[in-house]
Amino acid sequence: MTTRPLTRRRYALTVLTWAAAWAMAAVVGVMVGAEDIWSWEDGDAVASVLALRFYSVMSASVVGASLALAGLALQALLRNPLATPYVLGVSGGASLCIILAGLFVSVLWQPVFGFAGALATVAIVYGVAQRRGRLEPYTLLLSGVIINAFYAAGIMLVTSLVRPAERGAIAYWMMGSISRFDPRWWLVGVVGGLAVAGGMLFAVFAKGFNLVAVGEDAAGAMGIRVSRLRVVTFVGASLLTGASVALAGPIGFVGLICPHLLRMLLGADHRRLVPASLFFGAAFLVLADLTARLLEGIGGQAPPVGVLTAMCGGPFFIYLLRARWRRIAQLR
């Protein structure tokens, strides 16, 4: 894989290729759907459906890109390929605040509360995990687990106290889906902006991600400011996650599956993985959302996107585990 140098040209080629892949997925997502709109006569109706699909595709793109990037970054930060964007508790914080906002304030204010919850959680986890201003993967992971447990309890409490009618809506939202009732283009813009900014930030950190994998001291001696890398990556990945949750609820497994698939395809070089994750994550969720929409057309009711991605996750994990065993057995 590294028998040829990663020059500027090849890098640009990589980025463009993945961008093109995403663009194709996006086009398919808009053109294809459960309803055969291309045989309709009413132009307004066609335009309505196209607008709906365009919103779905863009939402899925920015959420998928954000989650894939956040997952990749956290896996590098925690030196653990099984880390997900939700492992550090940010999604729990965003979710709880969103649920509370929906109950006591208004559905329209949910994204703002979600952001606030995510930011507050970032501060809490950082405060709990840091030692003398430095973050270590182990303490970060532990803090995240604790915070997650706390938030899960909070969500359960709220769910048990609300009226039965609202429980359904909460449970549904917790599965993660791209709602088309309330096209929040401003939020799509925010998440998209964060995804692009995150992509650029992690592209600059890509070298650092590669190096910290062989050791913190070695990385430092090769010019990486490990402390700063950790803190900024943590904050950046958390913001990406919080924003995605604010838009689409906690959609799982995108942040886990996408980096893994890309690693199998491209190797462990983060310089290639970062731009690939951005576009592949986007394309992945666009196609998952398309699948959900098509299933809806066939069966009438379709599971939310988060359920589809979760269903992919289980078999994927099993496959990963077995591949690992096989590789270990081969080495012996």
Partner: protein, 297 residues
């Protein structure tokens, strides 16, 4: 100066038109039959009862009464709506019972006039029927339906007049793993049915389907317990419910054998069948009514 006046006049004109547009709209002109989307089961029942069944082009997944409604295409429910399918059905008017602004907004954005209704109490139900009548230009049919419903209810009231009013608890079965059951509180729709049926709600507080423990039920001391087990058709399930209640002989209803399991699904649906619901409840509480004593509804 004249230009400023000109601009002001235009602005005022726009404002007036805007204000006029924001006022309650006049009923739609008869451009042809409305294409109605009904997203809540009781609304579907009301529409069919008003004779508008032919104008309904789409329903929610849970709208299964009357049976003709099942032939209509289903577009999901208020939590998850298949908006593309909605567009395909080309509705002009949508009715649903919801408090969610985003669902209403989403439908309106597709160019469908969407009316959010409320039906938590009897007056709200009556008002909703009137609104449906106004929106569809069938005020007459609405008033006829309202009159029928009120007549049904009045008939039940008459049949139980003068009788003592027992304390009745209306409950759902306890779900597996739960230690509480949901009951009808005061002020709820079912509470009004109980009043019509000549009963007093054993639960004293105004609440929206509160959860109570069996111990609380003992404390409330209802003379009659109605367990609404709609959709739990299996006979062994119904037996299980009766046996569960038999564990609490401290409850007067259990002691006197006045725990009844009701399986009619429409008992909690605020729609055209409320009269029948009240009658079923009345006959359960006062079994002698079934024999034909009192006025037949």
């Amino acid at each position: 100066m004249p230009r400023a006046l000109h601009a002001a006049a235009i602005l005022i004109g726009w404002a007036a038109a805007f204000a006029a547009g924001c006022a309650d709209p006049a009923p739609p002109e008869a451009e042809g039959p409305a294409r109605i989307l009904s997203l809540t089961p009781n609304v579907t029942e009301i529409l069919f009862a008003m004779g508008l069944g032919g104008d309904v082009v789409g329903r929610s997944t849970y709208c299964d009464y009357p049976p003709e409604a099942r032939r209509l295409p289903a577009v999901g429910d208020t939590v998850r709506l298949n908006l593309e399918k909605v567009v395909a059905l080309e509705p002009t008017l949508a009715f649903l019972v919801t408090k969610r602004d985003d669902v209403v907004g989403g439908l309106e954005r597709l160019g469908v006039r969407t009316v959010a209704l409320e039906s938590d109490t009897m007056p709200e139900l009556i008002a909703s029927i009137r609104i449906i009548g106004t929106e569809t230009g069938r005020r007459g049919a609405a008033e006829i339906l309202i009159a029928r419903i009120e007549a049904d209810l009045e008939a039940v009231r008459r049949s139980v007049r003068g009788r003592p009013r027992p304390k009745v608890l209306f409950a759902f079965p306890m779900t597996v793993g739960s230690t509480t059951m949901m009951v009808a509180g005061r002020g709820s729709f079912v509470d009004e049915l109980l009043a019509v049926a000549g009963a007093e709600n054993a639960y004293p507080e105004a609440a929206d389907w509160p959860a109570v423990s069996p111990e609380r039920v003992v404390a409330l001391g209802p003379e009659v317990v109605l367990v609404h087990a709609a959709g739990e058709g299996a006979p062994d399930r119904l037996d299980a419910i009766r046996r569960a209640w038999a564990n609490w002989p401290g409850i007067p209803a259990v002691r006197d054998g006045r725990v009844h399991v009701l399986t009619e699904p429409f008992l909690t649906i605020p729609g055209p069948r409320v009269g029948e619901a009240a009658r079923v409840i009345a006959e359960t509480i006062h079994p002698d009514l079934r024999a034909g004593g009192g006025d037949d509804p």
